[in-house]
């Protein structure tokens, strides 16, 4: 058991505290995004409707992750972890789709 009576443990405070003002701003942006996505669904954009809907959803998710979940103010380890999550999810979608597209598309 290390003797730490000799050297008091240093408090390396990299811990950034996000202000309520930032939270309020992001909250407003999320509400705006919700209104836009509902409004956009009533406009006929052909094949672009789901693209726009997903783009808005991804933007909202990024805002929640960066600010509500503090990733913007976190260490590189945390940022890398979140990126790894995205990457693995993209691998799931890409590999599944490449299987269907190359073999079973239209054969339902």
């Amino acid at each position: 058991m290390a003797e730490h009576a000799d050297h008091p443990v240093a408090e390396h405070h990299a811990h950034h505290i996000v202000s309520p003002a930032t939270y309020l701003l992001i909250f407003g942006a999320l509400l705006l995004g919700t209104a836009i996505t509902v409004g956009a669904s009533y406009i006929d954009m052909g094949p672009w409707n789901p693209v726009v809907a997903l783009a808005i959803a991804c933007t909202k998710a990024v805002l929640v992750i960066l600010f509500f979940m503090h990733i913007k103010y976190s260490s590189k380890l945390m940022k890398l972890t979140v990126a790894a999550g995205f990457f693995t999810f993209l691998a799931l979608i890409t590999m599944t789709l490449s299987d269907y597209i190359s073999r079973a598309w239209g054969l339902w």
Binding site: M1, H4, A5, P8, V9, A10, E11, H12, H13, A14, H15, I17, V18, S19, P20, Y23, L24, I26, F27, L30, L31, T34, T37, V38, S41, Y42, I43, D44, N49, P50, A53, L54, I56, A57, K60, A61, V64, I65, F67, F68, M69, H70, S74, S75, L77, M78, T81, V82, A84, G85, F86, T88, F89, L92, I93, T96, L97, Y100, W108
Partner: protein, 241 residues
């Protein structure tokens, strides 16, 4: 058993670190980072869990698009929209809770956790009402499922579906119940934990400098919000024009 493993304030004050710093960590910041890391790893497994359902949705929506349009039109866009606003607000109140814990503001934390919990219950209440409507209209997949509303729609603006495509709306509703049901289960678990955190916060926990639990629960709650942020447009907003 050596005296260092007894977590008394006096012992820890003697060698200069807060009581809540466990001895296998060098600093409080390292401990906080390690627990956040663990929470994020769990959230990554959750991304893959819901990811599987989203992938199934992706495939079947492309295969049976008219059925998915018809199914989506059966959902109430207002209830879905209100629920989205409710969850986004609950994420805001949860973030404020984290801030209150950081500021050692006990009453603020209790208020924020309480607001988050109430908003979570409102969400589930609206969901229950929506599920009940599905039950009444025979839109729950299985033996009682009826394709009547799709073959002979009441609304003149709805295009009727042929029987074989109308049968595929069961796939849409199966995914609707699976995805929103799994999401609702995560909400229920979150609300239960919120209750426990509320009681402990009331007793003074989390506003004494050690608020990692609130932070990490916040991560879980925001994640559940993000899942709904994707569920709402994908389930409720298919071809509403």
């Amino acid at each position: 058993m050596d005296s260092h493993s007894i977590a008394t304030e006096q012992v820890h004050a003697e060698h200069g670190h807060p009581a809540h710093l466990r001895h296998h960590f060098e600093t409080v910041e390292q401990q906080r980072e390690a627990s956040s890391f663990g929470m994020w790893l769990f959230l990554l497994t959750e991304i893959m869990f819901f990811g599987g359902l989203f992938t199934a949705y992706l495939i079947y929506r492309n295969w049976y698009y008219p059925a998915f349009v018809a199914g989506s039109h059966q959902l109430n866009i207002w209830l879905g929209g209100i629920n989205t606003v409710v969850l986004i607000t609950s994420s805001f109140t949860m973030a404020m809770g984290v801030w209150c814990a950081e500021m050692k503001n006990k009453s603020g934390l209790v208020l924020a956790l309480g607001a988050t919990l109430i908003l979570g219950l409102v969400f589930l209440g609206i969901k229950a009402d929506e599920y009940h409507e599905k039950w009444e209209k025979h839109h729950i997949p299985g033996a009682s499922f009826s394709v009547e509303s799709f073959v002979h729609p009441d609304d003149p603006k709805e295009t009727p579906l042929a029987y074989d495509m109308a049968e595929k709306t069961q796939m849409y509703f199966f995914l609707y119940f699976a995805m929103t049901g799994m999401h609702a289960l995560h909400m229920v678990i979150g609300i239960a934990i919120l209750g426990a955190l509320l009681v402990r916060a009331w007793g003074g926990a989390y506003t004494d400098g050690h608020m990692t639990t609130i932070e990490n629960f916040g991560l879980y709650w925001h994640f559940v919000d993000i899942v709904w942020i994707f569920l709402f447009p994908l389930l409720y907003l298919i071809s509403r024009h």
